[in-house]
Symmetry: C2
């Protein structure tokens, strides 16, 4: 039997690249037999040739020039694991233009240049795999595109940033402040160098955008989404949330109304009912809840990131890519598949702030004097916001009180006006904290 030759090249050879290399080495023989291919690792682009690595790689395969990987005649699968978006885009497009397969974990790149990447796939016949870009230990992209292909998803809710989930879980478990746990998480290397990616929700946003594109065929931009991080969540909010029957998690939320076409995407700290599975996913774990119109609710839980979980996802892509190269036919996200995805998006439009509704949690710092509550409640009443639960308490020795409350469902637009007006009241001491309350449609 004439075995298909597969050459796997790496651009970027940090933790994940080395993990992929290590596991592929140990499984190589089994994979070769199973798939009827012959695997080699012709070229690896690194930043420093002399650096000590956890795996031992033949010196002659290392190069400083990523284009050597892209252009190497024996490389037909390029693993882009360098991160960043500018150069990564150049190498990705260069490889795709040669009709090669690119495997990537680079969610920021896909968010920024997904359209160009898929256009290049369509034009030049290469292929792009990116299972590792969202929730490494969870095969969410395969599940969305293949396993649950029969479904349309009215709602996709996910805990998709392990760092934030780790910080929030530890704050609550240990009763420590955000700052204290954050410093610890940084020491452990859990926080990206640009910490806004994790802490302000942008990493989760990039992932949510990828899922929204796959599910609904629309690339959602920053200005069309609600993106908030976890910096303003305090231990006090967590305790109050628990009193109200919730836990606070950073949630990525994609909602689609198939009747009106409205699509919304948000990333924000949300209160999740205590008895729901999502509320119980702690630490570095990710979880994604899919509400399909045929299969009903499906929840997937697994490690979000880290060397091994991400390696597992990259290897699954490499296996799919090897089969695609062997059969000269990739199965999913082919040109006609991509076209169909965009066609799906034609019936979608971004929801207005009037259409996006939920219950809200508010924390307000208020002057502690007779009558100050009247103004506050008047603003709520004026906008028709009903209060489901409220706890008001004083701060010993200070002339201020705190109000925490949960509302009945209302719209983002109304809540924005409420907050704007509250800020005008002299008795309101700082800008109110507003969190959304997650209400599962069914489970």
């Amino acid at each position: 039997m004439n075995k298909t030759k597969i050459g796997i090249g790496f651009i970027g050879f940090g933790t994940v690249g080395q993990g992929v290399w290590k596991h592929l080495q140990s499984q190589r023989e089994e994979l070769e037999e199973r798939l009827g291919v012959s695997i080699s690792f012709p070229k690896i682009a690194v930043r420093d040739l002399k650096r000590e690595r956890g795996v031992s790689v033949p010196a002659e395969t290392l190069t400083l020039d990523p284009m050597e990987v892209v252009n190497h005649p024996d490389v037909n699968i390029v693993c882009e694991l360098m991160g960043g978006t500018t150069k990564a885009k150049d190498y990705t497009l260069a490889a795709l233009k040669l009709g090669k397969v690119v495997v990537s974990a680079n969610k920021a790149l896909i968010y920024e240049f997904g359209r160009e990447i898929f256009d290049a796939v369509k034009e030049f016949g290469g292929h792009y795999y990116f299972e590792a870009s969202v929730a490494g230990g969870i095969p969410i992209i395969k599940t969305l595109r293949e396993g649950l292909v029969a479904n349309r998803f009215a709602s996709i809710a996910g805990i998709i940033n392990g760092t934030c989930n780790y910080i929030l879980s530890r704050m609550e478990a240990e009763g420590k402040s955000y700052e204290e746990i954050l410093q610890d998480a940084k020491k452990l290397g859990y926080v990206e160098a640009d910490d806004r990616l994790d802490l302000d929700g942008w990493d989760a946003f990039h992932k949510a955008v990828i899922l929204a594109f796959l599910a609904h065929g629309k690339w959602v931009s920053e200005r069309d989404a609600l993106v908030e991080g976890i910096r303003n969540v305090t231990l006090e909010d967590m305790h109050r949330a628990r009193d109200f029957g919730y836990r606070i998690k950073l949630l990525g939320m994609i909602r689609r109304n198939f009747k009106t076409g409205a699509l919304s995407l948000g990333v924000y700290p949300a209160l999740i009912p205590l008895d729901k599975t999502l509320a119980r996913v702690d630490g570095v774990y990710n979880a994604i809840k899919l509400s399909g119109d045929v299969a009903g609710t499906t929840i997937l839980i697994g490690r979000g990131a880290g060397q091994d979980a991400t390696s597992s996802a990259v290897i699954s892509d490499i296996v799919d890519a090897m089969i695609g190269i062997r059969d000269n036919a990739h199965k999913f996200l082919t040109p006609s598949d991509i076209d169909a995805c965009y066609r799906l998006g034609e019936s979608a439009r971004m929801a207005t702030m009037d259409e996006i509704r939920s219950k809200f949690y508010l924390r307000i710092s208020i002057l502690d004097e007779p009558g100050t509550l009247v103004g506050f409640y008047s603003v709520l009443a004026k906008h028709g916001v009903s209060v489901a639960r409220v706890v008001t308490y004083e701060h010993q020795g200070e002339r201020r009180g705190t109000i925490t409350l949960a509302t009945y469902p209302t719209s983002e637009a109304i809540m924005e006006r409420v907050v704007d007006e509250l800020k005008q009241l002299p008795e309101i001491l700082t800008a109110p904290l507003v969190l959304r309350i997650y209400e599962p449609t069914r489970e």
Copy 2:
């Protein structure tokens, strides 16, 4: 573009068949565009031509003879949804011998004739898809074979019989007896006609065997597995389990020791620690926890059965099959893939009863007289079984007491000897109930 013609035939057109037909009709145009195929439904074999159905099918496509579906020149995908094993096997093999693709939800058939089916796939070039055979709403087979392909699984634990989970959940929630809830479940049509399949664990066993074959390449037979149903679980056991920190679920358990090669497979009611995700999966939901050596722990939760969840899985198989036919290349469980699976099984052997270890829960009915506990504890001591927790209590007005206890880990072999000796004691009034306690290796 020359579109590949796909003809989908049905053998058996009950709830699931009609669900598949209905959803495929509504998605047909989208699928045709996306996959570049043209879909038709040439033939449907039913048991009664005149029966009223929830979907309206052209009369001329109906037949009483399943071989008309198999032999129809335009049918290249045969959905075997008739159930049973004897005739279903004949039609399945007949279709495979014609090089056709068979899509099935028939776990009993795969358990009994999986080897013959895969042999026929290898010999005649057809293909067999069976995602719907295990946990409809969870794409577990795709996850095992594709999404988590980089992993070997030391443990797979699953709640994979929705009927038992429904009964146990309701018993606990409503404080009602097994018999009472069972009657209700039967009225609702949740229990298979042959109720031993659900209640004695055989349905879950068939599913566990399929997962074990896919993960470890071994067909496990009845005599090599521990299979127990839920008939002996009482409300009292549930309360006691909760006191001890557990809930009782019917669990399918596949464990593999990669050092010794030992593989074990069991289906039994097990006590699961209250804080674990599996313990919180209720009603008709299924859940499967995979412990992979690369990705770590991944948990999937979804509807186990029912028209829609099963239809969703069947349609995902049909889509894979259509792509395989279009490209003239199926992706997974190809002949070389099947061979590789069996080769994997060569390094596995069934674990002995000495090797299978866990904590145990025991309930014993004992004569309530001075000294009767001595004999009981002597048996445990003789076999080196340590007691972690014990509750002993009397029954008012009766001369008997009940002992419920949780042990430290010991082996199946030792526990069997303990129970045998306990049965010999005159003060032990009925055969002890023995349940296993599930201890996750990591989560």
